[in-house]
Symmetry: C2
DNA sequence: AAAAAATGTAAAACAAACTTGACAAATAAA
DNA sequence: TTTATTTGTCAAGTTTGTTTTACATTTTTT
């Protein structure tokens, strides 16, 4: 599972803390998601995608083949 | 959080068990997601959306205002 | 180069998602 | 109207996501 949060944060020029605040989660949640430690819930994915104005599919990409 | 899984299942004419098998989860997982008991992980959302050929946003809709 | 801001990381605790197994209720088919 | 298929639900257990607190490291600004 890959994600492009860092890229979209860069495009919008906001910090992890700012993104966290926008969707009401802790900064560590953003940090750990962004660094691929875990995949967020669908609710968070939708909220993050909404902030960036993109589809969930553009932010999170399935990679494992099963 | 609303979802349209049942509708898309109807369109594709597949059972809960068949959908479950397609994405390698238990039938109960599909059943409970479909009936709104909990929201799936982003990984499952992406897989389900892929099966139906729609975006995650078309399948799961945020409704609570925060 | 020093100070400030941003990011990485870790542990403990809790919440939410998911599984299995098993059975009841409803719907469809024979 | 009996049988088969599909769907609903419950409980217990495991795994994964999320929070909080706290500190270390890296990057940016002055």
């Amino acid at each position: 599972m890959l994600n492009n949060i860092r890229v979209h944060r860069a495009i919008k020029n906001i910090t992890q803390a700012e993104l966290a605040e926008l969707i009401n989660v802790s900064r560590q949640t953003i940090n750990t998601i962004e660094s691929g430690k875990y995949v967020p819930s669908t609710i968070l994915s939708l909220k993050i995608a909404k902030v960036f104005g993109v589809a969930v599919e553009q932010l999170f990409v399935l990679e494992d083949i099963d």
